[in-house]
């Protein structure tokens, strides 16, 4: 068996183990024992998580050996690594605070992230000259770790919000909470629909003309939105239902729009099914499970994760980034969209810390901020790479 196959197998193993760990964490909630006791179930849950983490570390290093460079150089590799760091950040914070609920929410988020990552091309890609530097490892790994620790603050924040927000009537807050639940469904929708059609090897090719040049575009999902003046060239595949609006620029914009619409639709379907089964708001259905959670402790974790993550992110995302940029592109700062959004993230968490430490924004306010912060990180990871394309767009 070659290293690359082994590496893929290890990642798959890690994924399954994380799934099992989630079940164990769910079982700890049902545990009637006192909160402070470290029961067998707790040991099983965290033990399984650590096992999964070790398997994923195995994936990381075998892939490194296979490709000759640290696997953090394209979208699949980076997002997978981000998921791994999220698990690591959770393990660290678990040993400080011993909150099982954190695992019950952090691991599914990590699973979703790893699932999302594996929708991107998984082949090993060559490094262009500017990426050939030790700073690739140093910069990218530190950024991923920093963002992962910040993501834990989002997890703690969302648990806090679901537990604390009054669900007896519909308010702006409950609506926003449902929007977050829906976004999670949409991500899941993306993973599901992409997996279904890629297992069927679906491929529809459209040809179209832009600037008098003949172009083709491959769809891996049935085309709801085709390119302007596009013509289907593959046989037996679905014709495009609509035409992507002309103001969408970029070579693959129609396909990206198509994928987005698919994800949002499947996500909506999943969300509606959940609503029908639960017969109440999703967050309202989760709320009773969180009775045992200590909101002050959750608030503390939410803040502590930012306090730990902010310096790590600054170091990796701004300082190491600047040192490498100076080496590779001979300027430490160039206002590339990715750089700007790292700065936006920095500004945002600086505001978070000032509001909390100087103006007493605790509890709910700070939990909402943690959610917005995570949205900014995800924006930088997904939208900036795929839409705003600059020097950092790997996929």
């Amino acid at each position: 068996m070659d290293l690359l196959t082994l590496s893929g197998g290890l990642l798959y193993t890690a994924f399954v183990i994380y799934l099992i760990a989630v079940i164990f964490f769910a079982a700890t909630i049902r545990d009637k024992q006192h909160e402070k006791k470290f029961t067998l179930m707790n040991k099983l849950a965290i033990g399984t998580t650590i096992l999964g983490f070790i398997a994923q570390v195995g994936y990381f290093f075998t892939r490194w050996m296979a490709s000759g460079h640290a696997p953090v150089s394209n979208m699949f590799e980076f997002v997978t690594f981000f998921g791994m760091m999220l698990v690591l950040a959770f393990i660290i914070l678990y040993f400080i605070y011993r909150i099982e609920l954190l695992g019950l929410f952090a691991l599914p988020v990590a699973l979703l992230i790893i699932g999302y990552a594996s929708m991107y091309p998984k082949e090993i890609s060559p490094l262009v000259p500017s990426l050939k530097s030790h700073w690739l490892y140093i910069h990218v790994t530190t950024v991923a770790l920093g963002e992962a620790i910040l993501a834990v603050s989002f997890v703690a924040g969302i648990i806090y919000l679901i537990r604390q927000i009054n669900q007896s009537r519909t308010t702006a807050k409950t609506t926003w909470l449902e929007i977050i639940m829906y976004s999670i469904c949409a991500t899941l929708g993306f993973v599901i629909i992409t997996t279904i059609f890629s297992s069927m090897d679906y491929k529809a090719t459209f040809s179209y003309v832009i600037d008098e040049e003949e172009m083709t575009l491959d769809y891996q999902l049935p085309a709801l939105f085709g390119p302007e003046n596009g013509e289907l060239t593959s046989e037996g595949k679905m014709e495009a239902v609509f035409t992507a609006p002309g103001w969408l620029h970029g070579a693959e914009a129609p396909r990206k729009l198509n994928t987005l619409v698919w994800s949002l639709t499947v996500g909506l379907l999943l969300y509606l099914i959940a609503r029908v089964i639960l017969r109440k708001r999703v967050a309202a259905a989760i709320q009773p499970l969180l009775k045992k959670a200590n909101p002050e402790l959750l608030d503390e974790v939410c803040y502590r994760a930012v306090a730990i993550g902010f310096p790590v992110f600054t170091l990796g995302g701004l300082i190491f980034a600047a040192i490498w940029a100076q080496e590779a592109w001979n300027r430490y700062w160039g206002w590339d969209p990715k750089e700007v959004w790292a700065l936006v993230t920095f500004f945002f968490y600086a505001i978070f810390l000032h509001l909390r430490l100087s103006r007493g924004w605790h509890g709910e306010k700070s939990a909402w901020l943690a959610v917005i912060g995570f949205a900014i990180i995800m924006f930088n990871l997904i939208v900036v790479n795929l839409v705003l394309a600059g020097l950092h767009s790997y996929a």
């Binding site: 060559p126 000259p129 050939k132 310096p311 206002w335 500004f347 900036v384 600059g390």
Partner: protein, 540 residues
Amino acid sequence: MNTIKCSTCGHQNKEGTTICEKCGKPLDNDQQGTLLNMRYDGSSIRSKTKNRSIVDKIWNFFSSVKVGVTLIAIALVASALGTIYPQEMYIPQNVDPALHYRDQYGLSGQIYYQLGFHNLYNSWWYMVLIALIGISIFIVSIDRGVPLYKALKNQAIKRHPNFLKRQKLFGEYTAYQTEDKTRFINNLKKHRYKITEKDGHILAEKGRFSRWGPYVNHLGLIIFLLGTLFRFIPFMYVDDFVWVREGETAVIPSTSQQYYIKNEEFIFETYGNDDEDAIFEEALQNTSGPVPKHFETNAIIYEDVSKDVIGSEPELKEVKSGEIIVNEPLKINGLALYQDSYQLNEFQTMSFKLHETDDEAEEAIVEFTVDLTDPESEYVFDNGYRIELNRFYPEYELNNGEPRSVSNYPRNPGFVFFVYGPDIEEREASFLAIGQNIPSGDNQYKLSLTDFGVRDVSGLKVRKDLTLPIIGLGAFIFMIGVVQGMYWQHRRIWIHQATDRMYIACHTNKNWYGLTKEFEKLIDGTSFTMVRDQEKKNDV
């Protein structure tokens, strides 16, 4: 200046002080029962006490955290706006930005351009915004940092019972043994608390340095921002560019003609030509065009050692040689040369022959080679023929039917030749470019391209940035400050020894959870019970 006299110890406190500097008695008698505000240890803050002159008002404006946070929020939104469309530096160099934004992005692009967002980060208002943040950081640090420093430096050991009673974590103990107190103090020492004692009253303290974290990181930011300003001082910063052709020696710009660079060879490799690239096969198939693997310039740097005589020929002495690779610049005398871009296979020479138009064998009458970097204007031959290079367009294009050259680089050469000869009446003109050979009329003779030579051109960035050490220092100090303030806490525990009882109160500037956990360990082996969290009683 107004003062407030403490009713217990008689100490004269500065106006705005909320906790007596000497005995620690809360000076806000009307707020009994509520917790004390421990920020800045109750010391007098300038911005909270003075608001008379214009200076006070400006000072108070900038020292407000609300204003600071608002400024950062505006900078956040502004920065994000600049990423909607590419900035001017990322659009093609040879287009008019006004047209480019309109053509590429339509009406919204035009508005974007009109608002100046295409060059947002260099706009005056963005710089003013960052400068305002810098001023705010500076003023707030002095406003809060100095009184806090003084208050902590001179803090009293013995605190008034009311001070302890109004702390978040508080305990009152009547039945206890002396051993309990000794044990407790020993535990404090074991947990690295610094103990000071006065008449049985105790102050245990650790991690005070973490209180300076915010001021240290603010200092770092100020140094950083000043560093970026130094870039505008001419000798501190050089940003230039030079194209050097293979075999050519060019003067390095911004060195006052002191240094020259010779491009010995430019090496360019792509993926897929090597056995070790086999693992990338799948990825390479999915990309259009070759993926560059490595490129470098083998360069020699010369210094002009001729005595400064204007117009004298430079006298070149080799001072350094080596490869310039991406991520590995070549440095000379504070100047760094970076491998930036390249132009592969640029035409260097073109060879032509002259033959009779209707000669199918195209037998050459004369042959000549044009050096495209330095073309001669006339080529004279012994057999009586003479060819004049009337017009040369290094990078030729047709602009409204008129030929012109886009640049001075021979990327797509176009020529207008005049041919003179013994059997030609006046002259015969013809235009030649790649894929084109247009005679001026019914020409007797024809020119044909026979051969060409190419070479690579290496694009090098010439950089000097003396602001880097300052910026690096600022960033380093910032990181130290952030870690110092975020990863440590300032914890204090007071013991007030009354005649029949003992009070214990705890304070930390952050991470109350950690302090509570620690207190559980501190009372280990004593009869003391856990301190009460006085904030919680409202919830129950």
